[in-house]
Amino acid sequence: MNFRSRLVPLPINNVDTDQIIPARFLKTISKQGLDRHLFNDWRYDAQGNPKPDFILNQPRARGAQILLAGDNFGCGSSREHAPWALTQFGFRAVISTSFADIFKQNSLKNALLPIVVPADAHAALFALVEREPEAEVTIDLAAQTVSLPDGRTVEFPIDPFSKHCLLEGVDELGYILKNEAAIAAYEARRVGSINTLE
């Protein structure tokens, strides 16, 4: 995975999943159609019209693949609808200084990269979009780098197994299923306490 895109800045800390997609849109039994409710209550007014001052409604967000967010992005509920909505909108990465645990896991399972950068690089990226809203950065998953237009490169950590799955197209459920023998052996050796509920 190697892609180049403008950044969509959302300089707010602790963006929770209720903001990413409000609970009233979780009554669906499908994964589809969630992008139109991404950041619904920040994005639309009471009549359902787009608010022009919200970043996702601005031309620069169109076609952009990277969300640049504040600290602790994705806190709150376990709803996977959050990364589904983000990816359906077109995002392939979120850059922050930190992510809530469940959101991070959910993102990795949907090919949405949760990119953690140090505070100084984070500030530099916000300064860059402030100065040059059209500036593009390149994300290289194999190299684990974000490259800025001035040539500066910022490394980011990622779980090696998740990286392998994303780069090689490995399906995690398929991987676990291949370990059926180990699972059965565990069930056989486990002392006493697997409680069948019959």
Binding site: S98, D101, P160, I176, I194, N195, L197
Partner: protein
Amino acid sequence: MLRTIIEKLWDAHVVQEQPGAPALLYIDLHLVHEVTSPQAFQDLRERGLRVRRPDLTVATADHSIPTTDPTLPIVDEIAAKQVAQLEINCRDFGIRCYGRGNNRQGIVHVIGPELGLTQPGMTVVCGDSHTATHGALGALAFGIGTSEVAHVLATQCLLQRKSKTFEVRVDGALRKGVTAKDIILALIARIGIGGGTASIFEYRGSAIRALSMEERMTVCNMSIEGGARAGMVAPDDITFAYLAGRPYAPKGADWEAALARWKQLPTEEGAAYDRSVTIDADRLEPMITYGTNPGMGMPVTAPLPEPSRVADPLERDSIAKALRYMDLEGGKPLLGHPVNVVFIGSCTNSRISDLRSAAALLKGRKVNPQVRVLVVPGSQEVKRQATAEGLPEIFRDAGCDWREPGCSMCIAMNGDQLQPGEYGVSTSNRNFEGRQGKGGRTFLASPLTAAAAALTGVVTDVRTLL
């Protein structure tokens, strides 16, 4: 090496560890609800997979269902379809379902412990972040996303990295009017909502030991609001007494064998934690949140923070933004602020002891006529017990609305919600913008503090009414 209970449970559930991959962790109990499961069942259908251990899987409907008469159809067609889909999925995959109208239905984190499904030493997951609740019984319990729901349905396993251990020590004794909810709100106010990221809390100390099982559930429930995926309390005699005789608890010789295993679970003396924090229970006061995340909490008697006095610029912006949303002024007291709605319910505070404590304050009194008060029991069993004790009459006589079990206004998916601009004192767990209804403003607090606001119509220090 000396081990904490967290490490003991982890070690006991590792199926295998392969180089370069996370551990494969076995799951003893999988709880399922209507909102985060339909796409997982669909995934299984598309792959032609079955549920590996339907005998370790239990479903209920709680999030989308109305809290009105369960014999009437669900008016919201989308919600009705989702609830019906849960029943279809459970039928097709052979999973027991305590759905709408079933006498064991309830909020998933209320019925797990109540039915004795959750037991010490188990790994418990659910597509819901408040799964941490079950840690109160000494289980390793955490929320997962829908992809992982599919993984557990199909394999009874998850790929997991080990979390850090985080000791939360609470010593001393709670004073009158101070509750388990105030402990957890104080912890989150102290460490912040990201403070426990990548960690599992173990709650310890004399104040935790003194809590009832239900109070421990309140504390563990909000571990996620402190950023931790799970929170645990080691099992003790209070745990065992709570579990004895529950429908799914072991019986006879099985009970004795289980008890012997459970007694081996507590953290060994001298085991090290990655991080520790200590809270002095004697000094805690009734807590309330003023802002738009659960870390924005303070003693109910405290003045609101003034953004201009906050040094860190992002933190300053964040508090200023929250106060704007809440339409509150920094430096002013919150005491005496008008309240439109009081909600007593949710997986944090809808158990019988929560209802008893609110009812004790409301008995023989009338709620302020300006306030709409919703009391929503956590389960059919809680409702039955409350009814046997005459609590619905106390609530109704006081002017409260007594409802059917469900998540209700905690997540506001079912029509129970704040109107734009309204202020609610809520015993639930999240005060995010719009969480309890678009434009609604939430003050999180204990059932006692909520009941006090119901009576006075304003934010109140419950100690003045005791």
